[in-house]
Symmetry: C2
Subunit: 148 residues, 2 copies
């Protein structure tokens, strides 16, 4: 039982390392950055707030703020002030960002194709993912109850 979980964690670590190297070497972005850009590209108009982005990649908004900075400097992302809500800093993928993302996608697909075959059902994995992510959202309530 525990062994299965530990093995899973090890596997994830190994895969992440395998993805990180080629991306960093070829395009100068880490795998984390790739995922951030990928996530951004999936928002309507490739625009999203820090909080949305953070939620979708499983990071803190502050971590997103920091991760975005170098990507802006490289011209892959620009941030625009929200018009309706002045608190918002909307990150938008630039054209250069889209090009980079396309290249990176190809690299990632290559690496993934080179992984040992895994006979895991995508459906089951997705269900497990939901099972893990869901309760985290509703966790807010019990925590408050515990504090009060």
């Amino acid at each position: 039982m525990n062994a299965l979980v530990f093995t899973l964690l090890d596997i994830a670590g190994l895969i992440e390392k395998r993805l990180d190297r080629p991306l960093a070497g070829a395009r100068g972005v880490s795998f984390r950055e790739y995922r951030l850009l990928k996530s951004l590209s999936e928002f309507p108009g490739s625009r999203a707030m820090r909080v949305e982005l953070a939620q979708s990649v499983g990071l803190t908004p502050s971590a997103v703020t920091r991760a975005l900075k170098p990507l802006e400097k490289l011209g892959y992302v620009v941030t625009e002030k929200g018009e309706r809500d002045a608190r918002q800093s909307l990150a938008r993928l630039t054209q250069a960002g889209e090009v980079l993302l396309a290249d990176a996608d190809a690299i990632v697909a290559d690496v993934v194709a080179g992984l040992p075959a895994m006979s895991i059902s995508e459906g089951q994995l997705a269900e497990l993912h939901r099972g893990l992510a869901g309760p985290a959202a509703s966790r807010t309530v019990p925590l408050r109850a515990a504090i009060v």
Copy 2:
């Protein structure tokens, strides 16, 4: 294909977070530290070199050196100079470490039991793990070839 891999990585991250909190809260050790101690306990006599330990938990020897320091301070581990080889710093689990580890094991088992059911074959996962770890070991040769 890619989606499956990404889901797997997300799941690993979520599980790690779930394990980290209870351990840190109850026993003051991170999940990484727990794994280090666990790994150490599995060596004969609960003694191991930095390099061995590093290899078994997927870290750098220097990372192990640093990770071990606070655990030593807390009395869970002591390091002894190797008698046959004076370069070695052998880490050994103390009795206090064993007690801690037993408690932590219980906590981990609890958390794992609370995870959503995962219908993944342990055998298949182990095979994937070998497939990923194995090539890394033999990677030394091609790398050298590339350099020369």
